[in-house]
Symmetry: C2
Subunit: 467 residues, 2 copies
Amino acid sequence: MKFNPVTPEIAATLAGIVGQEHVIMPASEDDMQRYTHDETEDLRYVPEIVLKPANADEISRIMQVCQLNNIPVTPRGAGTGLSGGALPVHKGVVLSTERLNRILDIDERNLQATVEPGVITQVFQEAVIAKGLFYPPDPSSRGSCFLGGNLSESSGGPRAVKYGVTKDYVLNMEVVLPSGEITWTGANVLKYATGYNLTQLMVGSEGTLGIITKIVFKLIPFPPQNLVMLVPFRKEEEACAAVSKIFMAGMVPSALEFMEREAIEWGLRYLQQHMTIPEDVQAHLLVELDGNDMDLLYKDAERVYEVLEQFDIGEILIADNEKQKEELWRLRRCVGHAVKSNSVYKEEDTVVPRAELPVLLKGVKEIGARYNFKSVCYGHAGDGNLHINIVKGHMSDDDWNNKLPEGIKEIFRLCVSLGGTISGEHGIGLVQRPYIDIALNEVQLRLMRGIKELFDPKGILNPGKIF
Amino acid sequence: MKFNPVTPEIAATLAGIVGQEHVIMPASEDDMQRYTHDETEDLRYVPEIVLKPANADEISRIMQVCQLNNIPVTPRGAGTGLSGGALPVHKGVVLSTERLNRILDIDERNLQATVEPGVITQVFQEAVIAKGLFYPPDPSSRGSCFLGGNLSESSGGPRAVKYGVTKDYVLNMEVVLPSGEITWTGANVLKYATGYNLTQLMVGSEGTLGIITKIVFKLIPFPPQNLVMLVPFRKEEEACAAVSKIFMAGMVPSALEFMEREAIEWGLRYLQQHMTIPEDVQAHLLVELDGNDMDLLYKDAERVYEVLEQFDIGEILIADNEKQKEELWRLRRCVGHAVKSNSVYKEEDTVVPRAELPVLLKGVKEIGARYNFKSVCYGHAGDGNLHINIVKGHMSDDDWNNKLPEGIKEIFRLCVSLGGTISGEHGIGLVQRPYIDIALNEVQLRLMRGIKELFDPKGILNPGKIF
């Protein structure tokens, strides 16, 4: 791809659109630093200019200028992505949605909300809970990530197992196309059979087809009660196997998270917390049940226990007060950060049909043994979504850069052979791009490239991602 | 569009692919008749040849022959569609999926099932219930419609209000493209962030992008308990208004169906059943609650009652034995057929945000008064999905053909102005095509046409539909 540089004239035009105070340039500016990376490994790419538009109209005008001048535009939410989707690998413009940060409407009559893409997920969740409503998707980064980014990557989080992922809550979106045209993708309805599903095409497209400027979400009534159980297993494969048994027994927990022993240990160290884990415990499941009625939840917990006691488990910790629950969740949520803060790492976002988890986990460890890498595994076991944090540790740079990718390929091939794929909720972005043809065949890739070309004939929007 | 006829040579080639016993030709054959119509009004289009292939490979070879010879192919499921999607308006081939009718696998470990598209929805539902599992989508035609057709139209049904529509249960599909290429669209996983969502692009595409040959569905545990209430309202707008109040009170019924007085009366006459409806009752809501625990359902029913008693309602009929429940559901399900069996009719499939239903209903009646048409309204009020059966009655042919479409346009414009759209679950197909630009703007249409061209450059697959 051949793009043009952002000349002083073009920069002045762009600054005229958003206002000089919402521009960062040149590249040497200190303020620029945070736009050069996301949370993917330690990758850094410096854009020529950062623009912080206020609305769809400004974004439309930016896109027209960039389309005309063949300048790449990389949309950016909060920069919490884990596949490098917000990195300006071809320089050009980083277009930050941070100023589109308003909750425009929480419609209690229709159980819908209209928001801008730069709203922080947790801020939105809390605003709707204050009205007795519920927006379930909750990626681990919910305290900082943006809703627009959640949509771009089709994010999930622990509650997806019962409530579905971000894609299942979006009804309609306003988007700016690379041409500068502004359009809605659908209607504000729960059922839609009016032409092709442009809304779902946009979800998970990683900012390569258009820039989301408004989102209409569906909401559901908030289930006020919940309880959390931490279940220690003596064999980690049994922890995985228990997951499908819980569903087969007719239970749908609101979260079912797997942490291997080391994951919890890294987490405890990171939080500087203490918890005694018996030596023979290999893994934990964090099980959350929710609903309207506490008595019923205790009944459900008993039914879950009946399933669990068929396995070789230790003493279950039941958290039914807010403080305990929060502590357990903080521990689970920090695992990714805990591993990252201690080592150079790569995080893989594998997903398989849930009953295949034990096979995947065993395979990952076996592949690690052959390629000499260490992995810390945890994630959304209820969805079959296992995050594999590969830590560099004592691996040589040469092995890390040249040998490890072969091991990752083996992991991904194993996922696909089990009916799964190479990303469940992080996206392909930049870092999984070399592996895409393990998951997608030539026909799928041709169709996807054709869609990209249809939406973005000059290829200026988030180039270098997915394909 | 210029297509070629099915010459005797081409017919022989096609017969060679599927076997002569799976071909119907010529057009005069008696067996051909049922392939000339679906359940849309009284429309009839005669194809040149009907093919009943056995598998994806045969379909691939058919598509290659038709692509080469520029012959239109109209895929057909059970022919229960309500927008004319299966009508061969450009003649050519009708490709029936009736022989792809196997449930290939019900995977109890993963709560997934793999089926062929010609499986009848109810047959599938009962097969999974026998294993304690649940496939919730249940269009009214579930006793005869095919799963492939449900996917093509993004069908819903009463339970969508709690459980979502067909699109929410499909994980992956095998499709044959117009080129004859066979590909899967995704992976057998609950979370998928690996390139564009080809699965959801195919759902609701009304057989214009590819022919579905295998489907992987997700299943959930079967909730064994339910109860059904029939609630009479003295004001039909209050029946609509009660719908959002029930949700606002934190309840998510498993069905919430609206029937105006006449809908129920047509239904009773059709079934030759008797039920005394007090003269002052204008409409009914059919409310179903489901779950694992009967005590809890009675509690929930009390909470629903607390909402309902704020309105001007009559005596509620609570059905908690299977016979009563089945009777009420049969009554609800037959309304469409009841109206159709008595008059020339058109059925509109409007959908709006659910709290706007009273406005829509009032608007429909007001437009009817101005255009002099009678309508019988009923449908999935919990989803804001109102079916409007327009009956010809004493309307002149001229008014029916020339004036009524203006009235329909007004109804559709009202839907769109309320945040809704012109089809919730029946699709655009043939009969709503003249109205598509009320719902979709030029940008959306250009993108959709571009997608169509990408998948089907020669336009041979189900031509004359949607656009």
